[in-house]
């Protein structure tokens, strides 16, 4: 992504200012042949420092905005950047093909893998085609079909989660959205091959979980994962759509908070200005994470791996028996 077209979020305004100044200086340099390189370098340095400062102090709601950034790398970017000879599968063999989920196989650093992810669009046109990454039951069934193929040939499965949620629509209900998600959750708990789940942007509730059960659950540093959107939570509990900041805080939907709660295994570091600021770097980092974890999970005997997967979820929850707090 070239810096020229970068879209700035509200809280990134200081960065936009600096960038504007830099381009003006460059323009002057070009037109009047003035040597202002020192100034430019200083401003570039300032840009980096300011970026670091802003991104070190993001609020929950700001992270929601970063996670939803229109220029954030998508599933297709990671596939393009990491998978060689990608072969995409289509259709659930029952009703249709769902472009909101991409599912296929290919070579990842010389190993065969299956890769499945929600696909948000990069522009309005693609967003309409991809339904903003909101899957229908067909999408979940296609995903499961590809996981079964991966299981048959012992390919590790990597899923990339990036969705506002499953599609809330009449047709989706008619074709049993609830069962499509329930089946995937259940079957993923038993698929006999390693599964790595990475939340790359927005982990929207059941729609995310429909491809989100696995041995390793990682989140990109500024991604979010939540039981309900901040907007939904705000309107139900606060009776006010505008209470999104409060809702984002209350829901504890950021990566560090979820790691602390023991619901995810690892946080994958993003470039200092977020994944969208340097997508190539992000793609490499994600690739390294996948490589490391495939190696680790592949070394575990499959039954032991499944038992571990089961136990992990069996133990999730906080409750109290009489006066004794138990995890």
């Amino acid at each position: 992504m070239s810096e020229m077209q970068r879209k700035y979020l509200d809280f990134e305004k200081p960065l936009e200012e600096i960038e504007k100044n830099i381009s003006e200086l460059r323009e002057i340099k070009k037109r009047k042949n003035v040597d202002n390189q020192l100034q430019i370098t200083q401003l570039q340095q300032l840009f980096r420092e300011k970026t670091k400062e802003i991104y070190a102090n993001l609020t929950a709601w700001q992270k929601v905005q970063v996670a939803r950034h229109p220029q954030r790398p998508r599933t297709s970017d990671y596939i393009d950047g990491l998978i060689e000879q990608f072969y995409e599968f289509h259709g659930d063999r029952i009703h249709g093909d769902d472009p909101a989920i991409i599912a296929g196989i290919g070579k990842f650093r010389s190993k065969s893998v299956a890769i499945i992810g929600h696909q948000k669009g990069k522009d309005t046109e693609e967003n309409i085609k991809r339904n903003f990454g909101m899957a229908h039951p067909e999408g979940y069934r296609k995903a499961l079909r590809i996981m079964k193929i991966a299981e048959k040939f012992s390919f590790p499965v990597v899923t990339l989660v990036d969705t506002p949620g499953a599609h809330p629509h009449i047709e989706a209900e008619e074709r049993n959205q609830a069962l499509a998600i329930a089946s995937n959750i259940y079957q993923m708990s038993e698929i006999q091959t390693p599964i790595i789940v990475i939340i790359i942007g927005e982990g929207g509730s059941g729609g995310a979980l429909g491809i989100g059960v696995g041995d390793k659950i990682a989140m990109l540093e500024f991604s979010i994962y939540s039981v309900i959107s901040p907007e939904g939570c705000a309107s139900i509990l606060w009776k006010d759509q505008k209470a999104v900041k409060e809702a984002s805080e209350a829901l504890k939907l950021t990566a560090p908070e979820l790691l602390k709660l023991g619901l995810i295994d690892e946080i994958i570091k993003e470039p200092s200005g977020g994944a969208h600021s340097q997508s190539q770097e992000m793609i490499r980092t994600l690739g390294d994470y996948i490589e490391k974890n495939i190696a680790e999970l592949s070394s575990i005997e499959i039954n032991a791996l499944l038992e571990k997967r089961y136990e992990k979820y069996r133990n999730m929850g906080f409750y109290k028996i009489e006066n004794q707090e138990i995890l």
Binding site: H169, I170, N176, A178, I185, L237, M316
Partner: protein, 283 residues
């Protein structure tokens, strides 16, 4: 005639006047007609005009399908904590306190041993009166324990499910993970050949529908129950039009092949008894 004397007041202890009007009539939420409460109770809490099944409490469910005196509750002392220290207009602790007082329940899910007909069974009831029957850590844990008990004691499990709230917001992502916890145990039920019957009642939505509620061997629903994944209001906002009448109701699901049967409450015990008998090991 003029009498001049001091007025005498007789002190009386105020007695609570019997409130004749209150609670005597109920309005059907489906057809809006008024129903005499006594009539409603006689009729399994089914609206005599339109057949809408009023929501039952846990106690009423037990009375409806369990042989008298055979229900033995387990793990009633597992209670919710506030893992997120949820800060909303109401805190989670306040909400829990309020719901406990209102419903007399400790949590939304109650389970235990029960005789259904002649079959010793495990019965789990998710009560939609307690925070909309939403699933948090306790609901997840207790449902899994109910399944584990069924497996150990080689009994079928019957789940009555009114989970209108889906995953419980107050527990954030922890509640979403209960979907995995309660779904994966279904695989164990399969391996141990444990029968799992799910009775869906009004309402069963979201994370509850999209996990354990829909994964049973046999799926039964009460008439006119609201069942689905996305809430009707959310769908209306998305499609920007009114939903057709009967959408996401049991009959709609049945027509679309998602249920085995829609069973009126008056026949539920009989139906469960029949199914349990078929699956019971032959003598």
């Amino acid at each position: 005639m003029i009498f001049r004397h001091r007025k005498r007041y007789i002190p009386i202890t105020p007695k609570e006047a019997p409130d004749i009007k209150k609670d005597l009539w109920q309005k059907c939420p489906d057809c809006n007609k008024l129903i005499y409460e006594g009539k409603l109770k006689e009729n399994f809490k089914i609206c005599p005009h339109c057949g809408y099944h009023f929501r039952l409490t846990t106690k009423e469910w037990i009375n409806l399908i369990v042989e008298p005196g055979t229900f033995e509750e387990l793990d009633a002392n597992i209670v919710s904590v506030d893992p997120l220290e949820f800060k909303g207009p109401k805190t989670y602790k306040e909400k829990l306190e309020e719901e406990r007082k209102r419903t007399g329940l400790n949590e939304a899910l109650v389970y235990g041993r029960a005789m259904i007909g002649k079959t010793p069974s495990v019965l789990s009831i998710l009560d939609s009166n307690f925070i909309m029957g939403s699933m948090g850590s306790v609901v997840g844990e207790k449902f899994v324990r109910a399944c584990e008990l069924a497996m150990v004691e080689k009994k079928p499990i019957v789940s009555i499910c009114g989970g209108g709230g889906g995953a419980r917001m107050y527990e954030g992502l922890i509640s979403l993970m209960q979907m995995v916890k309660t779904s994966q145990v279904v695989g164990k039920l399969k391996k141990t050949k444990t029968l799992y019957i799910s009775v869906l009642t009004d309402p069963t939505m979201g994370g509850v529908a999209a996990s354990f509620a829909f994964l049973a061997d046999i799926l039964i629903a009460e008439p006119k129950a609201l069942i689905g994944f996305a809430g009707p209001r959310v769908i209306e906002q998305t499609i920007k039009q009114k939903l057709p009448h009967g959408f996401q109701r049991s009959e709609f699901l049945y027509q679309h092949g998602m249920l085995d049967q829609v069973v009126p409450r008056s026949n539920l015990k009989q139906t469960l008894t029949k199914i349990l008998t078929i699956f019971a090991p032959s003598q």
